[in-house]
């Protein structure tokens, strides 16, 4: 029983730690009181409910979404180094943000002048960019039967978007460049209120579709040809996986910025922990493991007790990269 429960228990522990720890040191009793609506100071209440709680929920959703996405991409492409961004979603979102940041500076909508509009616009344009890339890939998937061709198209689309971003950056002013750079570093702190509601709704929709994909993913793991011989409609399943990916990775990137490495590393960690690649086990395991890792990255990025905050993307990368290197050195190219 404990074997099954330790990961959810660890997640609960980390969720609590994320609420109790932060760059502002708060008394644990005060945080506890604020959480249960008991008498606490206004500042503590605001920090807990307006900042730490939404940030913790955002990290939880981001970790779950990126990890579940990574599992699906690795299975679909039978590639242990595939990640949620392999089809260019991140670059598409980046291009959307680059357009918005550049455009908003022309209309004087800056991070400091109208912050809510700037944040909302950034998320909306990032989402549109991710969606545009995915629609392009979906349209091409009807013509390209081979998964490998589609993978190359995705990588090329991502590279083209990155090249355009470079071009936009070249002609941008320093404040616009800084805003763009801040977005690329990732943050869970800006997702509050309606934005959190929208992100929660989109991520839950993506997670539900992913659960529905479990049966097909198990068959796809044995190869496209075998899956088709069983009567699986490959193009339908592939499109459904792409829709889930857009909802999950697109939403996380739009609201939190591009957060790399978790999507590649967590599926491998889950397989190593549970020794089971059956998606009925792997999808929930990756969701829980991803949530744990992302919340841990968030706690570390806050550097508890100090006034500094590290970019969450950097922390996530430093946590994910050793796992990827481990996978490469263990020569587990076929470790799906």
């Amino acid at each position: 029983m404990m074997k099954r429960l330790w990961l959810p228990l660890l997640l609960l522990l980390l969720m609590a730690a994320d609420l109790f720890l932060g760059s502002v040191s708060l008394n644990a009793a005060d945080v506890w009181a604020a959480l249960w609506g008991n008498e606490s100071s206004d500042i503590v209440y605001k920090i807990v409910w307006n900042f730490r709680f939404p940030k913790m929920v955002t990290a939880l959703l981001a970790g779950m979404s990126l990890s579940v996405c990574g599992v699906q991409m690795q299975t679909l492409f039978r590639n242990p180094l595939a990640d949620p961004y392999i089809l260019g979603i991140s670059s598409g979102a980046g291009l959307g943000v680059a357009f918005f940041v550049m455009g908003s500076s022309l209309f004087s909508i800056g991070r400091h002048s109208i912050p809510w509009l700037f944040d909302l616009g950034t998320a909306a344009f990032a989402w549109m960019g991710a969606l545009a890339v995915m629609l392009l890939v979906l349209a091409a998937s009807g013509r390209l039967k081979s998964n490998m061709s589609l993978l190359i198209l995705g990588i090329m689309t991502g590279s083209a978007a990155s090249a355009l971003i470079g071009l936009i950056q070249y002609f941008s002013e320093a404040p616009a460049l800084k805003s763009y750079m801040l977005w690329t570093m990732g943050s869970f702190g800006n997702v509050t209120g309606n934005r959190l509601v929208i992100m929660t709704f989109l991520c839950l929709a993506g997670l539900l579709i992913s659960v529905y994909n479990i049966k097909d993913l198990n068959v796809l793991l044995m190869g496209e040809q075998y899956a088709q011989s069983l009567g699986l409609s490959f193009s339908k399943v592939r499109n459904r996986i792409f829709v889930a990916t857009t909802l999950l990775a697109g939403s996380v990137t739009a609201f939190c910025g591009p957060i790399g490495f978790i999507g590649i590393a967590v599926p491998h960690i889950s397989r190593m922990i549970f020794h089971n690649a059956n998606h009925r086990v792997l999808i929930p395991a990756a969701a829980l493991t991803g949530a744990c890792m992302m919340i841990l990255a968030d706690i570390i990025s806050q550097l508890p007790g100090t006034q500094s905050v590290l970019p969450v993307n950097t922390v996530a990368a430093l946590m994910g990269i050793p796992v990827i290197i481990y996978v490469i050195f263990k020569n587990r190219a076929d470790d799906l």
Binding site: K215, M222, Q225, S229, R271, N276, N278, R280, D335, L336
Partner: protein, 233 residues
Amino acid sequence: MNTVLDILDVSVGYSRHSPLFEHINAQLVSGTVTGLLGPNGIGKSSLLRTIAGLLPPLKGSIKSGMGGEKGHSCAFVPSQPLRAAHYSVRDTVSTGRYRYTNWLGIEDREGKQIVENALERTGIKHLADRNSASLSDGEFHRVAIARALVQDTSLILLDEPTAFLDIANKRAIGLLLRRLALEENKGILFSTHDLSLAMEHCDFFWIMTPEQELHQGTPSLMEEKGIINRLYY
């Protein structure tokens, strides 16, 4: 014995302009093992893939199975079945029940029993909880055959099931196919380059020749007609 495969004037290949093999007419009955022979590149795998529905026929029509449950008429075992790490043998075999499981891929009690029976009949029950990636090629070919068996079809197609196997494993697979045809009343069609294995275990041969002729008959008839000699010697 029932007809489980009826091929009417079928052409196979990847392009209408240059079909690999044309005008194939053949029938296969349940309870028999048929060996598909011919030189490399003649279209054996394409024919099997066409029967399995993985490739559309360039011309003609194919009726397979006996109107199996859920419209699934034949099971296909590719020449090099892929295996997944951290995936148990039992779970691997269960994927063959794709059409019969619920939306999460979970078996009912009857389905679980069918999987256990297939593990038993293919002689891999003792491996059921092992990681598929840790099996030898011979053992995994048995897993692939068990996976075809649980699909509950009247016809099983195998593309070079004994390629890359040692002599003992080749014989074991041949005997297994023979036993499944007789005991489970399956129609079995497999492609092979191993003439001695085919001679030992097949009831019928389909021989595809470079002259675009499909010769059919018992192994002894094919030998008498000199077709085997023309092809192999």
